[in-house]
């Protein structure tokens, strides 16, 4: 009899301890996640010769230009595409394209009016909307998120061909002194 009483007493104690947990049919579990603020700029350069693309270039190097004796102008055998990607979750952003003059070593001549610059909203590898076409000299421009998204900014740089050039762009003639011409393009990403 005492054994039974002990067993029943133990069961009462165990159930008493376990019951509150068993009777609670639902329990809230807090889930939390933090998304870090981020603003990301990505840039790549591709050299284009005919229909062949050569990605991962480190600069825009038109090399030695060839002289077209028919039209008496200098031509390049390539042009360049610079892809500019932005991703961010912080705010609206703006990309500024600013250039320094492409001058020869003596600093006496420039190619600023001999290069076309085409800005494009690139939607995929083959679909784009041109959002600006200027001479290198006039290519200090800004583009905000609403002009580029969805997609990314692709900028083409090409030596004047004498046909279809941007306003103010002229072909390179023998009047231009021989030599190396160098310049800098700065792509700046800031919040709008």
């Amino acid at each position: 009899m005492r054994g039974w009483l002990k067993t029943i007493g133990s069961l009462v104690i165990i159930l008493g301890l376990a019951l509150p947990g068993l009777t609670q049919s639902s329990k809230s579990i807090t889930i939390s996640a933090t998304i870090s603020p981020v603003e990301d700029l990505s840039v790549s350069i591709s050299r284009i010769e005919g229909s062949n693309w050569y990605p991962n270039q480190t600069s825009i190097d038109f090399g030695t230009l060839s002289y077209d004796i028919t039209n008496n102008i200098f031509r390049a055998n390539c042009y360049y595409a610079v892809d500019v990607g932005v991703s961010g979750n912080v705010s609206n952003w703006i990309i500024t394209h600013s250039v320094s003059s492409i001058k020869n070593a003596a600093g006496t001549d420039s190619l600023d009016n001999n290069i076309n610059v085409s800005f494009n909203q690139q939607l995929d590898d083959t679909t784009a909307n041109e959002i600006g076409y200027y001479s290198y000299a006039q290519s200090n421009r800004s583009f905000n998120k609403s002009q580029i998204s969805p997609g990314w900014l692709r900028i083409y740089y090409g030596i004047a061909t004498g046909s279809g050039d941007a306003s103010g762009v002229e072909s390179i003639t023998t009047a231009k002194p021989a030599g190396t011409y160098t310049g800098t393009i700065t792509l700046t990403l800031t919040p709008q």
Binding site: E39, S44, I45, F62, S98, N144
Partner: protein
């Protein structure tokens, strides 16, 4: 399931084209209400999310908003503009090398002078280049630099935003005017308008362009009432949200005649 999530994650982060250069920061804007004499410290995380090592140069410049005042900026040497706070900011380090997928914090300290009035501004740039021209060769060679900026907005706690809409006129069926920043702080305005007839019925509404201004900047704005408005007398209510609870409201009474011409009758605050 887990492998599926990982593969999806990888696919989401593969860009459509192969990048040669990649730079990321976690603090594009630092906006603070400050008081004279205080010192503020913080840090900005800089990351290299690419598989190539990058060298990052860090430096300060001034900036001003420029035409078309949609957030476009012009950058200047530090300490050369009227509203610069470049000289108040110290940071370290000034150059870093980030290994593939590496990250580093850049610490900054801002020492506010004992007296501050209005707003002071600067930008801290994180710059890297894709490469250098290694040899002298004929032709045209252009180096590409990429940089991300953290904008600093430091404004006195008691600064007041004041703006006005001036030189209102009508040109080719469009109401035009100048939004003028009359305060001593940067004003970002997000505007909208609605047009009521004499019975108080709203017949037209729309958005006014977002405007980014420094003190004394004057930005042309235009509001084109709907062509469908019949001739009559109307009130255009334009509201410019200047952020942080500040608002500019202008009420413009105008008359549209039977020929469709618009004439401004009265402007009220």
């Amino acid at each position: 399931m887990k492998r599926g999530i990982i593969i999806c994650g990888i696919l989401l982060f593969i860009p459509l084209f192969s990048f040669s250069f990649n730079l990321r920061i976690d603090t594009p804007k630092i906006k603070l209400k400050v008081k004279g004499g205080e010192t503020i410290t913080g840090s900005i995380k800089v990351e290299n999310p690419s598989s190539e090592k990058i060298e990052v140069k860090i430096y300060l410049e001034d900036f001003l908003y420029t035409s078309p005042y949609d957030g476009a900026k012009q950058f200047f040497a530090p300490g050369t503009t009227e509203f610069s706070c470049s000289s108040w900011i110290n940071f370290s380090p000034q150059e870093i090398v980030l290994p593939p997928f590496g990250k580093r914090r850049v610490n900054y300290s801002i020492k506010i002078p004992s007296e501050i009035e209005g707003g002071r501004y600067a930008v801290l740039f994180f710059e890297t280049s894709l490469g250098e021209i290694k040899e002298e060769r004929e032709g045209a060679n252009i180096v590409i630099l990429g940089r991300i900026g953290t904008l600093f907005f430091l404004e006195a706690k008691d600064s007041i935003k004041r703006a006005d809409l001036e030189n209102l006129k009508v040109e080719e069926g469009t109401i035009k005017g100048d939004f003028v920043n009359r305060s001593n702080v940067v004003i970002v305005s997000r505007g909208n308008f609605y047009i009521m007839d004499e019975r108080g019925m709203v017949l037209d509404r729309g958005k006014i362009q977002d405007i980014y201004t420094f003190p004394n900047d004057k930005v042309p704005i235009s509001i084109k009432p709907s062509k469908d408005l019949p001739s009559g007398r109307y009130t255009l209510i334009s509201t410019f949200d200047l952020e942080e609870g500040d608002v500019l409201v202008k009420e413009i009474d105008f008359l549209k005649d039977s020929l469709g011409d618009i004439r401004i009758l009265q402007v009220r605050d």
